[in-house]
Amino acid sequence: MRFSRKALGIPYGIFLLLFVAAPLAVLFYYAFTNGSGQFTFRNLTGFFTDANTLGTLFYSFALAFVTTVVCLLIAYPTAYFLAHSRLKSKSVMIMLFIMPMWINFSLRITALKELLTMIEGNLACYPFLNSVLGMTYDFLPFMILPIYNVLTRLDQSLVEAAKDLGANNTRTFLKVTLPLSMPGVMSGVMMVFLPAMTNYVVLDMLYNSTYIMGSLIGSYFSAYNWHGGSMISLILLGIICLFTLLTDTDKEENVRGGTLL
């Protein structure tokens, strides 16, 4: 066969179909079958009629919502001040804010846990607060980076035009800067909200025994209940899809892993 550039895509294409698409198909199958392989809606109706699992869904949303808002309130000003600072070494400064994400998250949460233990004494007294702190501590850099990227690329002449046309600083910010930075905010929200619903290790490590959606998958996994776990995964996928459709994030804005390119 003649060598062609197209053919280079074949191995990765097969890989994606086998190990990215196929696992999702299997999830679908397991979510709608029971232990003996029969088709059933039990797993789905069970989730939405059980007070415990609904409570978990609600708690996950509450935790993710509060975490996202706190991250946003810290990250937006940080990104804005950095992008608009006259500091010479802006790239070094942003590095400082991003660098923690390259340190293993479990070790960072360990550090936070030791500090909180020193301050609070017994961690179990403030489970929700500690979880929000832990998640914020873990995910903050992922919120700062996309907002910073958008703000530095923002066309300054638009801001100047608004000011020339008589808008004051507040109005310029609300009518020009903020709307134009929304893509960065949206990808930041994506980077924080979904992990905050699923990263149950942060809760475990900070002694919050309440379940979030991720913990449900973990407990089904430990109990070898593939069908229940698949349904939770499917519900999470539904939430993710909904989010992606609502936010319509730009692919290039994704900053997981912390690339600055």
Partner: protein, 272 residues
């Protein structure tokens, strides 16, 4: 901007930095003492570092994490890069289809990725976790999409006539690929590889659902250790955290110095 506002902004930035760094720096400080909790210590000591480097368990998990990261990232880089080149030159429809499949692991929650891979590979196909195949495949599936995403922009920037020119001048397609296309993509490939490494090192969920029971990565080991009551293990991990912090710091400084050098060289070229 008035001076007051500027100082206010600076104070805010410093407070955020303190929030991010105080826990890590305190942990680093106490890692050099004999303390078992923050707040009190009687003497400085290197025992945490000694424990870290002499306990076989810990040596194995550090080595295992590094080997896994290098291996899975190497595979992910080859797959992701060749995939990016292949799909970029394919029909529009093919490209669009595979880039959306490529997005799935990027936006999906890691718990779901890990769980679904475990069901497919271990439950349905019956591949034993002890073979390490599910673990390596899981990490490749997590990181290859990010390699793909960091190579694609470089392909878009590349001048398409370069490849044609190489062929016209008598290069075989293979030579043109290795001598013309890949060098053009190199910076994207390198950053994709680095990204893959950081994703693999930071992963907890995919490892938990696909790893052999006797194998631990740093993440799974740390999480298990916090549930246990071995103070010695716990404080030795403080030493590990400190070492990782120093390594990351050195890499970041080195990258910055290099970037500064190359940008000043570029400026000199432009001026001279």
């Amino acid at each position: 901007m008035t001076g007051k506002i500027r100082i206010g902004r600076l104070v805010f930035l410093i407070l955020v930095l303190l929030f991010l760094y105080i826990p890590i720096l305190l942990l680093a400080f106490y890692s050099f003492t004999n303390a078992s909790v923050f707040g009190s210590f009687s003497s400085f000591s290197l025992k945490n570092y000694v424990t870290l480097f002499t306990t076989p368990d810990m040596q194995n998990m550090i080595l295992g994490t590094v080997v896994l990261a290098l291996l899975s990232s190497a595979i992910a880089t080859v797959l992701g890069t060749s995939g990016a080149i292949g799909f970029f030159y394919s029909k529009r429809r093919t490209t669009r289809f595979f880039s959306s499949v490529n997005q799935i692991p990027v936006i999906n929650a890691d718990v779901v990725t890990g769980f679904s891979l475990c069901i497919l590979l271990v439950v349905v196909l019956g591949i034993g976790k002890d073979t390490y195949i599910p673990l390596v495949l899981g990490h490749v599936a997590l990181s290859a999409p990010f390699v793909y995403l960091s190579v694609i922009p470089k392909l878009k920037q590349m001048d398409p006539s370069l490849y044609e020119a190489a062929l016209d001048l008598g290069a075989t397609p293979k030579t043109a690929l290795f001598k013309v296309i890949i060098p053009q993509l190199f910076s994207g490939i390198v950053s994709g590889f680095m990204l893959a490494i950081t994703l693999s090192l930071d992963d907890y969920f995919i490892a938990t659902y696909t790893k052999p029971a006797t194998f631990d990565t740093i993440s799974t080991y740390v999480v298990n250790a916090t549930k246990g009551t071995h103070t010695e293990v716990k404080t030795a991990l403080w030493a590990l955290s400190t070492l990782i912090f120093v390594i990351v710091l050195v890499i970041v400084i080195a990258m910055n110095v290099r970037a500064a050098k190359s940008s000043s060289a570029r400026q000199q070229r432009r001026n001279g």
